[in-house]
Amino acid sequence: MDLTLTYLIILTFVSLILFLLALLIIYLRLIAKYLKLKEESEKSLKEERKKYEDSFRDAQKIVGAARIKAIDIIKNAEEFNKDQLAKISEVLDQSSQLSLKSYQEALKNIQDEMGKVLLSVPNNINNSIVSAIQSFSFSLQNQFTNAQKKMLEDFTNLYKSSEADIENYKRERLKVLDSLILKVIEEVSLRVLGKEISVEEHEKLVLKALEEAKRKNALEDR
């Protein structure tokens, strides 16, 4: 009996040890897996960050290019004239009117549909909902019109500022051109004059210059 008990105790002990060993192995595996996952996560984070930085750099390049393009467009705005501005304004107006119209139609449809639904609800609730919708519709319409006005205003300001820049540039270029023209006229005139004067005329002019020197008491004998 004692021997059996002893065997049982030993068996239980061995089982317990085996169980603990199994637990330890599982724990170690878990730790290894955790470390692996952590490493992978860090690696992935780094890659993500790198991608983000690359994207940010690309975005910066795109923004830079867009800026340069925008400057070019503003510079080339010389081609813009008032007619074109009026046309743009007209197109914007038409577009906003069209949008407003389609929006109003959609709203009307919704209102109709809602009206049908609301017939089934009590009158006071119905009225308040309709009034709320109308108020919302009015506010939206106002905002839409304001946004359109603001856009047109911004566009006009941009056009005016570009126009002023172009005028300044034109003025500067014309100044340079004028001075060049004057220089050329001067050079050509002098060259032509030089060729047209004969030796006799040269002599006369020199003698006259000597007379002039005498008359002005310049270079008088000392």
């Binding site: 004057l182 001067e186 005139s189 000597l210 270079l219 004998d221």
Partner: protein
């Protein structure tokens, strides 16, 4: 100053050698010839001078010297006086817009002599950029009487007018 010395000086200033001179260039050439003659005075036992007169100087110089010799002047003294006389001349620098002929130089010299007296030597140079007229430099004083200067002054004053005329001409040409 002794009477003889005075006479010698007068003789020098009236000499053809001096009266012939118009330009600085000519005077330098004459000074070279006088130096040659002075050096030859005591060569070849007195024959050197004659040889130099015949072969080392221009004919008009030879003639002028012979004329002076006929008056019995001391040749060494005379030649030295000529050198001194030339050294006392004032230089009148004139830049011309054309290359002058002998006649042009003569006319300019006469005019200058009329203004500044006899003791003048022209130093002429050629500068086509002046267009016409001349630039005069006398005793360090500079005067620009060129057409270039007058033209530039006038051009500067009327540049707006000229530009406007030019533009009008361009417009009418395009029409």
């Amino acid at each position: 100053m002794s009477q003889r010395a005075k006479n010698d000086m007068e003789s020098v200033s009236e000499s053809v050698l001096i009266n012939h001179l118009r330009t600085q260039e000519e005077s330098l050439k004459l000074l070279d010839e006088i130096d040659l003659l002075l050096n030859s005075l005591y060569e070849e036992k007195g024959e050197g001078f004659e040889l130099a007169l015949k072969s080392k100087v221009r004919s008009w110089v030879t003639e002028a010297i012979r004329e002076e010799m006929s008056k019995g002047v001391d040749m060494e003294e005379f030649l030295k006086s000529v050198k001194n006389e030339i050294a006392s001349f004032k230089e009148l620098k004139i830049s011309l817009a054309f290359e002058p002929t002998s006649l042009s130089i003569e006319k300019i010299y006469m005019q200058a002599q009329g203004i500044w007296g006899r003791k003048i030597l022209l130093n002429l140079s050629y500068d086509p950029n002046l267009i016409a007229g001349c630039v005069i430099i006398f005793e360090g004083e500079y005067r620009d009487f060129s057409l270039r200067k007058a033209f530039k002054k006038e051009f500067l004053q009327k540049k707006e007018q000229i530009l406007s005329l030019f533009k009008d001409y361009q417009v009418s040409d395009q029409v």
